[in-house]
Amino acid sequence: MNQTPAIDYQQQRFAWTPCAEEQSPGHAPVHPVVVIGAGPIGLTCAIDLARQGIAVVLVDDDDTLSTGSRAICFAKRTLDIFDRIGCGQRMVDKGVGCNPGKVFLRDQAVYEFDLLPENGHARPAFINLQQYYVEGYLLEQAQQCPNIALRWKSKVTAIAHHEDHDALTVETPQGSYQLKAQYVVAADGSRSPLRKMMGLESQGHTFRDRFLIADVKMDAPFPAERWFWFDPPFHPQQSVLLHRQPDDVWRIDFQLGWDADPVLEKTPERVIPRVRALLGQDVSFSLEWVSVYTFSCVRMERFRHGRVLFVGDAAHCVSPFGARGANSGIQDAENLAWKLAHVLQGKAPDGLLDSYASEREYAADENLLNSTRSTDFITPKSAVSRAFRDAVLGLAREHAFARRLVNSGRLSLPSTLDASPLNTPDLAATPAAPAFSGPMRPGAPCCDAPLLHAGQATWLLPQLGDRFALMVFAAPAQTPASTLQALATLAQQRMLRLLFISEQAATPADEQVLTGLRAETVQLQDIERLAAQRYDAHPGSCYLIRPDQHVSARWRNADAADIEQALLRATGHATGTEQALAA
């Protein structure tokens, strides 16, 4: 690997240059998509759109990336998405992978856990990586996309809705101009100025607790594990979380309680003794970043308002427990990108975008629920709530059942979009086509699995790519010729990628069959049989996968007509299957 000189992403400044609209005032084209906010969510959305062939204007009111300590835990699903958009490896190379963790009560370890207890996944449960690296890598990825125009120091101050476009007023160092777009993606953060301009609100609960974040740089022998203390001797009655980031930086999160003075607690005179109490008197360290925060669990009632789609913190905010903020926002971005591309390219009706809102509102509710539950465990709101919390912790060391109740944050997992209108439900089981079991039901994010392609190790997720794909669990030569022809025709018409997954390596007969098909095909060997196991596949089973790698539909036998119906449904077209679905 090439060692490139380290860039201090926190110090980078990005030059504003006059855009086409400013250079020639009469020139006001309607752009397909304007994304507001060059944070991790806006950047991901822009890159994903560009990959789907959509030109994007990305505006940001600032000329910098993230500074200081913000999101640091990037979960497996996020890494899978970064892989798909081309920058996952950099993140993983730089990040600190840490599946194991420990929970302590007072001065004793209660139990240890492993967040990804099974093998056969390309990526770990999560990595820790400072937000400025994530943004820096995403930005460099975006800069390589010729169809992304980045406009710094461009502040959106007004929005007007028109019949065939929305017009944004953008203020720059030179003045202001009108920026027109068919669709606007609001990735402008928890205080979303655009949301306020449109008179919309994000509602929910604010929690009466304060937390201190101290990022400290040190050379100390703590392992790369996630350690969570309840009521430790060095910080009685409160909780503390310690975990490692790259560059020998450690994140320490101290619960302070509601009565803490947020200004006073940020001063080094207060922070340093707290850190020293945890690390010991002999450890030398320096403070990289300190902040005191409170948090809210809120969301907008609807994430779509006409041509404006709200994503990330602009649409929903959660507590930090479980790392569900940035991770869920990245999933918003990828859910939206392929749908916008399909609509703009005329492959789907505008109504497909309603499913962005309904799917991600559902996911936001799941994240809010998990986040609120963690908060209730970490910050009990009543004497009895605290008594049960302490009882759980007291029992956990001895009894496995109580460990399952300890909630120091349920790490962000992607939602299975069970209620999505884009899903095609399973057919009724028959003796010849028994029901599927396992988690890969319609709406589920695809599980990874190790495979071989032409003898070389690969993974399932990158093989799925970012178009619609059909996984057929059979060797091509074992598939009836008429089925193959029908699938190939459908694949060609609908730009569907065909994956044949078989236990055995490809034979000359397989290769001959595939060469004869005029479609994008690949044959993969399920060397450890994990793909078939994870998808509960029998010979001939097949899965239709969306561009965001969620299961759309599945069958025990591939039938091109069924697949086409499911494909229409997954792209927001009315289909003839409504009655069957209501049953």
């Binding site: 004497a383 009895v384 008594a387 049960f388 302490d390 009882a391 759980v392 007291g394 029992l395 009894h399 059942f401 109580a402 109740l405």
Partner: protein, 71 residues
């Protein structure tokens, strides 16, 4: 499965005495802690979510609210 509220204790008077004895030597806070541990142990033993919810509803139904619910 429904919550069984028919007599089911093999030795009811011995059980009751043991329950009270369990709290001997404890102040109210410590008793609260022991009760919480006991509830958690028993709930795990029962396991079924519906039965647990039914038991919680029955328990709560006998006690009127003593303060306004927080918003």
């Amino acid at each position: 499965m429904n919550l069984n509220t028919a007599p089911n204790l093999s030795r009811p008077d011995d059980f009751y005495e043991a329950l009270i004895d369990m709290h001997r030597g404890l102040d109210d806070d410590a008793s609260q802690a022991v009760n919480a541990r006991l509830i958690l142990l028993l709930c795990n033993h029962i396991g079924g979510h519906d039965v647990l919810l039914e038991a919680m509803r029955s328990a709560r139904a006998g006690v009127a609210p003593t303060r306004a619910e927080a918003a």
